[in-house]
Every structure is written in structure tokens, then in C-alpha cells.
Symmetry: C2
Subunit: 366 residues, 2 copies
């Protein structure tokens, strides 16, 4: 394997957090930790084609924009590797077909198309040197995307760590919603990255994981990955967060973001806005941690961010049982918008942006 | 049946809301609408003994302090009716044994012991006139408790209605949590009583029902009973409430209460505190509606209210499936405390108490 990759492993890998995606050790496929089965079952799904990875993405077996991008990148590399005995023109055709299938698996995830296009471009260029070269370069590019993501997570973690207060004689109490952790990325996550770093450095921590209705990414995924890493974590229903704050049991709130507007408004998993209002009311800092790619200078403010509405059945029969009358409407937005005025700082891999957020964002991303 | 009962039916009964408890028409038992099966199945359970009613109470097939009290009162009347052929001493023994079983079904529900004691006392006194007299008086007392509860609900509704703003050219938008409706009482509920009255008077309304984790009384019960009554209701996950408020879609919040302290702090279903903070942040009035019996002058403030903690499994496997790792702790308080400073008014059957709540409560209940 390439030299940079081994070096990256040494520097960036911490054994504490789980992987969401990995290249099968024998090169026969892409292994995905099936997140729909967690925490009941820890099942690795070996995908042996781009079709199978696209299927896994559609089923949310792998989720989180960075993790999806990495899975798709490896999937494309796999298709090329399986086509090296074909004539170059046939390989090119197979490559383009697979890229199309992967791009469409979740059309709204920006990372997905970006990662697929990157691997496809490199492979097409290398094809001039033969099909084996194309396969090798495709794999190397996918692995590079993975490695860059690991490094990005770590930088977010290091920057976010500067926001953590000085250690006291008790554990630092952190609250988070949904899963912005290792399972959503190729590395140690975004909002959870400073948690892993602090824990790795021996700092006492305690995390409050909001269950996160309707799909329960907090209780199913965040609780699983933190617990597995030895980080003390307690699950609460979303409605319990305010009470925990009122009891003085929260030092800071940190969440991920799905899109950050130019003025600092941030869209994230629904419930984040409530958490930000409650944090402000209780005098608790509210931080947002996300990759630079999340900052969208073309979106002036939160009102311009389109909010995906999910199906009523995620609420109405999310657990396989009818928990609300069939005939009663359910309003189920997937995200809400935290206005910049409620955000104490935004952390990306490029550093910490403090209020006024609009000015800070313009300086870094303008 | 007694004259007062028929009159009460005429005045107090509205066909729109469901009943939680009723005396079987043929006198052979107490019929309970099984609330654990709603909304999937509408099953009436006919309980033919105090043991069976106690079992139903323990299983939460009937819930809500007023509804539990009524069910237990009828259950005791049933036991006496089934023992009229026994010698008076044996009937007394059966009566006392049944009262003991019923009182212990849920020891924390104050209404339960109160209702059982009331029926037992009347029956014991009437026993001097024979077992048939005891049976008749026990039934009459149970029915009186039911009727008083219906009247109490209606008075709460009438008082709460005075807090509703004048009609505009759009429906009034009301938000509520848990179930403080007909299913929790012998009548039209507490927080939902003004909703039924306004709807019955032809006013356009729209209710936002918070799902209410972990036991989903909002999506299962409130949505069911309002929808059945023709009141437009939309279910949302608890975490969505803030976003609905921010969109300007809520005119008022109204909830029930499990205990109201002398200073106006109110304990209610967990999530109520968050709702009160969010309502204040968005400039939306937050009302609490509850029976007078909920006001506890012996409790000076919210900090003195004991908060029941529920089992972790209600969160962890509430739907029959593991949704949080077995080894991760869950903190699951059943209630939280809304400080009086966040409550715009408290409504009981005795009227509306406005801030300063402590003074108002002292005037009415001191």
C-alpha cells in the first residue's frame, strides 16, 4: 500500500472508536458495519459490487455523509478491480455504469457524488497505462479519501478540544444529539472527535446521548460507539434534556451539522434547535462541529436551507408497531435550523469560528 | 338509577369524547378500555372482580389518577354486589379484602385510595340495613365519584376556555404533551377539556400532540381520542415542538399536572419543563390544567416533589426491540417540574389562578 497511508494509520488511528467502512482485507469487497442492526446485532456486510454498496446506502446500513462517500469510493474501486481482465473500453463502460448507480443511491448527499467523481476521474486517466494501473489508482484514490476524512475528523477534534473547559475535580459533562461520531465518518467523527481525543488523553468525561427520535441514532449508534470505546455515556429521551440541564449536569452541548449557511445558521438533526434554546436558557455553551464541506457560502441563511420531510411512518410505526392512529397526520421534518445567534462557536477542520459567525465564516470561507 | 345521575348525564355528557371506564350495562362487571392496546386495537376489558381491576390498573390498561379512582370504586361496588347472599360479616370481610387489593394496585396514586375508602365507608355503614342496601349504596357512591369527576372536568374546561384568545380567521393552534384527556379521567379530561368544549361549540381548532416518549401517551392516546372526536390533531416527535413554535404555528400550550406545589411549581410528564422554556422563549402562553386535588399545600415548591424514575427498559426496549445497548445506563424520570415562573396560569375546577401563583393558590386553597 502507499506510504502515506501507513503513516496516516500510525498518526490518525485510535483503536477506541469503531469503523463504519473498510476495504475487505482480502480485497474481495467493501465491508460495512450494518448500522440498521445496531445495537442488537454487530453485523458486517461484505458488499462485492457497486450495486450491493448502493443498496446498503439506500437501506441506511451505512449513513453519515463522509461514511457514505468513502463506501461509494471503495465500491467504485472494487468494480474497476473486478474488470481488469476486460478490454479498456469495456472497463470504462463498467466504471461509468457503476458510478451512475452509486451517485443515485442517495442523490442529496453531496459527498457521495464528490467521492464517486474523484475516483472515476483518476481511474479514467490511469486507464491509458492499462487496466491494472486503473485499478490500483482507483483503490489508492478511495483510500486517500478515507484517509483525508480520518485526518479531517482529527483536526475537528483538536480544534474543538480547545473549547473544552479546564479539567475540574469531576468529569466533564457533554450533551449531544443524533450520531456525529465514528459511525458517520471515516474517522473519529465530528462532534464526537474531541470526546475521543479527550478520553484518549485520560480526561474524565461523561456524555448524555439524546435518544433522537424518530430513528434513534443517539441511543442506537452514539451510545454503542461511545460505550464500546469506554466513554461513560447515559441515554435519555429527547424530552429529558432540559431537566438534565436544570439539574446543572451539563457543561457543554456539541452537535454535528448537515449544512452551515454563510451567516452561521446551521441545519442539523431535528431537536438541535430545541437543544440550542434550552442551552441558552441554562447558560450552557452550544457548539457545532462539522467538516469544512458543510459550510455552504451559496446559502445566505437558515431560511434558505431546504428541510427534508420524512415519512410519517418513521414516527407512526418506527418500531414495527402502530404507535399513532393511521388516520392522524404526523409532521416529521428530518432537520431543523439552529440560528447562529444561539451557537457559541462553529468548529471545522480549519479551526474555531466564534461570533459574530457571519464575519468569521466570511474570513475563512469567503 | 339515582336521579342525580341521569341529570348529570344530560348536562355533562358530550358524545365526542371516549370513556375510559364504565359500569357494564348488565351489572356483571367493570368495563375498561384497554389503553395499552390503543391505537392498534380498541378492546374493552370486562373485569368481573376487584382482582381483575387491580390487575388492569397494574398493567396500565387504565391510567390517569381520576380514571383509576373510578375504576377502583366500581370494582369495590362489584365485589359487594357479588356478596349480597353472604352473611353481613362475610360480606364485610370480602369488602375489606377487595379494598386492600385495590389500594395496593398503584400505591402512589392518591385518588385510588381516596376513592376506595369512600366506597368502603359508605358500604360498611349501609350494611346495618342489609347486604342489598350495602350493594346499592356502594354502587351509588362509585357512580357519584364518576359523576363528580365528569363535572370537575367540565368546570376545568369552562375555566380554561376563558384563557383561549378570541377567534380569528384561522384555527386556534394548541400544543399539548402526554394525555390529559378523556382517557385519563371519568369525563372530558383536564387539559383537553377546553378543547372538547371549544370544538363542541363549533370553534376551529388544531392540536399539536407531542408523541411523549417513552410510553407515547401523546401519539397513542391523545391523537386517538381527539381524532375520534373530530378534532384536527397532528402528531410530532417531542423534539419537533420547538421548530413548530419557531414557525409561528402555536397559539398556546396546555398540559395537565400530577402535583402542584404551594408556590405554583407543577410536576407533570417529563418534557413539560422543556415545553415551558420553549414556550417562554417564543412568547407563547403556557397553561396547566388539573383537578383541585392536584394542589398540594403540604409541598412548598417543586424541589420538594418526589420524582418517580421509570425503568430503563421503557426507553431501551419500549417497542419490543433493543434500541439502546444493554450495558449503557438510561436515565428515565417519569416527570419533571415546571417552575411557576414559566406558567402563565393554572386552571382547576375552582377557577383560573394567574401569577403571582403562590398568592393565588394561597387564596383559593390556603
Amino acid at each position: 500500500m502507499s506510504g502515506h497511508e501507513h503513516e496516516a494509520e500510525t498518526v490518525l488511528w485510535t483503536p477506541e472508536h469503531p469503523e463504519a467502512v473498510r476495504w475487505a482485507p482480502d480485497g474481495s469487497g467493501v465491508d460495512l458495519l450494518d448500522q440498521t442492526q445496531l445495537p442488537e446485532l454487530t453485523i458486517w456486510r461484505r458488499c462485492r459490487s457497486a450495486d450491493e454498496v448502493a443498496d446498503a446506502i439506500r437501506r441506511l446500513q451505512v449513513r453519515g455523509a463522509p461514511a457514505i462517500g468513502i463506501a461509494a469510493a471503495y465500491a467504485l474501486a472494487l468494480e474497476v478491480a473486478q474488470a481488469t481482465s476486460l478490454p479498456p473500453a469495456a472497463l470504462l463502460q463498467a466504471l461509468r455504469a457503476a458510478a451512475g448507480v452509486l451517485r443515485q443511491a442517495r442523490p442529496t448527499a453531496v459527498n457521495l457524488a464528490w467521492a464517486v467523481d474523484r475516483v472515476a476521474a483518476v481511474a479514467e486517466t490511469a486507464l491509458a497505462q492499462g487496466t491494472e494501473a486503473a485499478a490500483w489508482r482507483a483503490w489508492d484514490e478511495a483510500d486517500r479519501i478515507h484517509e483525508e476524512d480520518r485526518a479531517m475528523c482529527r483536526r475537528i477534534g483538536e480544534h474543538a478540544l480547545t473549547l473544552f473547559p479546564e479539567p475540574e475535580d469531576r468529569p466533564l459533562r457533554i450533551m449531544t444529539i443524533c450520531n456525529a461520531g465514528a459511525l458517520a465518518t471515516g474517522g473519529m467523527g465530528t462532534a464526537l472527535a474531541p470526546v475521543y481525543l479527550a478520553h484518549g488523553a485520560g480526561r474524565a468525561l461523561r456524555v448524555w446521548a439524546l435518544e433522537t427520535r424518530p430513528l434513534l441514532q443517539g441511543s442506537r449508534l452514539t451510545a454503542w460507539e461511545l460505550s464500546r470505546a469506554g466513554v461513560p455515556v447515559t441515554v435519555i429521551a429527547d424530552s429529558v434534556a432540559a431537566d438534565v440541564m436544570a439539574r446543572g449536569e451539563v457543561d457543554l452541548v456539541i452537535t454535528g451539522a448537515d449544512r452551515i449557511a454563510a451567516n452561521g445558521d446551521a441545519a442539523n438533526k431535528v431537536g438541535s434547535y430545541a437543544l440550542a434554546v434550552l442551552a441558552r436558557y441554562h447558560g450552557i455553551p452550544f457548539y457545532v462541529a462539522a467538516p469544512s464541506s458543510t459550510v455552504d457560502m451559496a446559502t445566505p441563511d437558515g431560511a434558505s436551507i431546504p428541510i427534508e420531510e420524512r415519512g410519517a411512518d418513521e414516527v407512526r410505526r418506527g418500531f414495527g408497531r402502530l404507535t399513532s392512529p393511521e388516520e392522524v397526520p404526523v409532521w416529521a421534518p428530518a432537520f431543523d435550523v439552529v440560528p447562529g445567534r444561539l451557537i457559541s462557536a462553529i468548529v471545522t477542520d480549519r479551526g474555531v469560528i466564534r461570533p459574530p459567525l457571519g464575519r468569521g465564516i466570511a474570513e475563512v470561507y469567503g
